[in-house]
Symmetry: C2
Subunit: 281 residues, 2 copies
Amino acid sequence: MKIVIVGIGLIGGSMAKAIRKNTEHSVYAIDTNHETITAAISQEVIDGEASLDELDRFDMVILGLYPETTIRFCLDNIRRFKKGGIVIDTCGIKSAIVEQVERPLKDAGVRFVGCHPMAGREFSGFAYSLDNLFEKASFIMTPTDDTVMSAVGEVSQFAYDIGFAKCVMASPEEHDRVIAFTSQLAHIVSSAYVKSPSLMDQAGFSAGSFRDLTRVAKLNEDMWTSLFMLNRRPLIDEISHIIEHLEEYRTALQEQDSEALHSLLRDGRLLKEKSNEAMAN
Amino acid sequence: MKIVIVGIGLIGGSMAKAIRKNTEHSVYAIDTNHETITAAISQEVIDGEASLDELDRFDMVILGLYPETTIRFCLDNIRRFKKGGIVIDTCGIKSAIVEQVERPLKDAGVRFVGCHPMAGREFSGFAYSLDNLFEKASFIMTPTDDTVMSAVGEVSQFAYDIGFAKCVMASPEEHDRVIAFTSQLAHIVSSAYVKSPSLMDQAGFSAGSFRDLTRVAKLNEDMWTSLFMLNRRPLIDEISHIIEHLEEYRTALQEQDSEALHSLLRDGRLLKEKSNEAMAN
C-alpha cells in the first residue's frame, strides 16, 4: 500500500515511524515545514516528500493536522484524492470533523473514516515522535451511516498492523462525550492545578501524586484550545461535575464532618477499583 | 544502632526493609497484627518482635502509625523511651503531631524529630512495602525551637543511609501548607475525578492522562480522612483555589472565548515549566 501522511508532527511522525517499523508499505509525507521533511527523509522514516498534485497516487491519506486544518485540507483537496482511496484523520474530537468532511468526501468517491489514535506525549513535533507510541494504545474509529464499511475493515487491520493494542468503535458523539472526561478534563484539571500560590514552594515536598496530577499541564495550547472549543458542551458538563464534587469534600472539611469525608473518599476508592476492574476485562 | 519500628505497614515495613538492605543496624518491630510480625521475621526483615517494656533498649524509635495513634503512643509510653534516645514519627501532617508530642517528650529527656518520608503507594500494609520505596524521595524534617539539634543531624544521616535522595527542613506549619497542595489536594482531586457519570464508559477511550489523574483515587480512606481533618485550613484553601481556576476555564468555554482559554492554558504550561525547572535545580 502507498501511504501519504499530511503533517508529520508528534502523531503523524509516530505514524510514519510505526509504519516503517511494522509494515512493508511505502510512506511519503507532506508538511509545510521543510526542515521536518528533510529530517524525516535523512532518518529514513519516509520514502520521500509528496506534493498535493500527487495525492491521487496514494491508497491511504493520513491527516496529522489540527482540527480546523484537517477540515480545510479535506475540502480544499477534495478532487485530488484517489477515487476509492482511504482518508483518515487523527483529531482528538470527532463530531466537528466527521460532520463537515465525511459526506463531501463520500460524494467525491473517497472513503473517509474518522479516527483517533489514543496516545500522546506532553511534547509536540516530529522530534518527539516514537515508533512505539501506539503500543498498548487504543485506536478509535467513529463510523457513521455514511461510512463505507470496507474502509473500516481496512483501517482497523492497518491499525493492528502498526502496533495498536485494540480497535474501538463509537459514534462521533459518543466519542466526544467520553473523551471530554478521559482526556480533555484531565488537561484542564492539570492546568488549573499548577495555578496554586503554593506552586513554587514545593521543591522537596512532592512525590508521585503531584507529578501525576500536573504532568499534562505542559500541553500545546494551540491544539488544545481548538480541541476544547470544538467539544464545548461535554467538556463544560465534566468541569461542572468535578467542581460539584470538589465542593462536597470542601464542605465536609468546613463542617469538620469526618464521617462525610470518609464516605466521600471511600466512594471514590470503590469507583476507581470498579473502573480498574472494567478496564482489565 | 538498635532501632524499633512501631507499626510495620507500608511505611514502617519499607523503613525496616531499607534499614536491613542499607545498614548494619539491628531492627525490631511492634505491631498489633501478629501475622505481620511473623511475616516480617520469616522474611528476615526484622530481627524480632519487641514489647513495650523493652522500648528503653532502643536508640531510635520509628513510629509508622496514623496521626492519632502516633500521638497516643508517644504520650502513653512517655516514661518507657530511652533517655537521650531518638523518637521520630512518619505522619503526612506535622503541626498537629509536633505540637502535642515534642514538648512532653523533651521534658522526659527524649529527643523527638517530626519527620515525613515523601513516598507512598496506592496500596497499604506490610505486604506492599518495598526496600527501595524511598529511593529518589525527600525526607522532610520539621524541627522547632524545642528540637535538640543533635537529633536532627543524626536523623538526617540515618535518612541518607537508608536511601533517601535528600533531606529537607521546614517548620511544621510550612510543611502542612505545602503538603496540602502537593499531596493532599492531589488525592482529593483524584477522588473527585472518578465521580463523573462517564466513568464506566471509558474502556478503550483512555490513555496516560486519565490513568495519571485518577491513580491516587485508590487511597486508604481511614488514613487520609485523619490526615485531611488535621490539616483542614490549608487544604480548604487549596480546594478553593482549584475550584476558582476551574471556573475560569469553564467561563471561557461558556462564552466561546478562545483567546481567554488559550491564555489560561498557556499560563498553566508556563507555570508547569517553571516548576519543572525549579525542581531540576
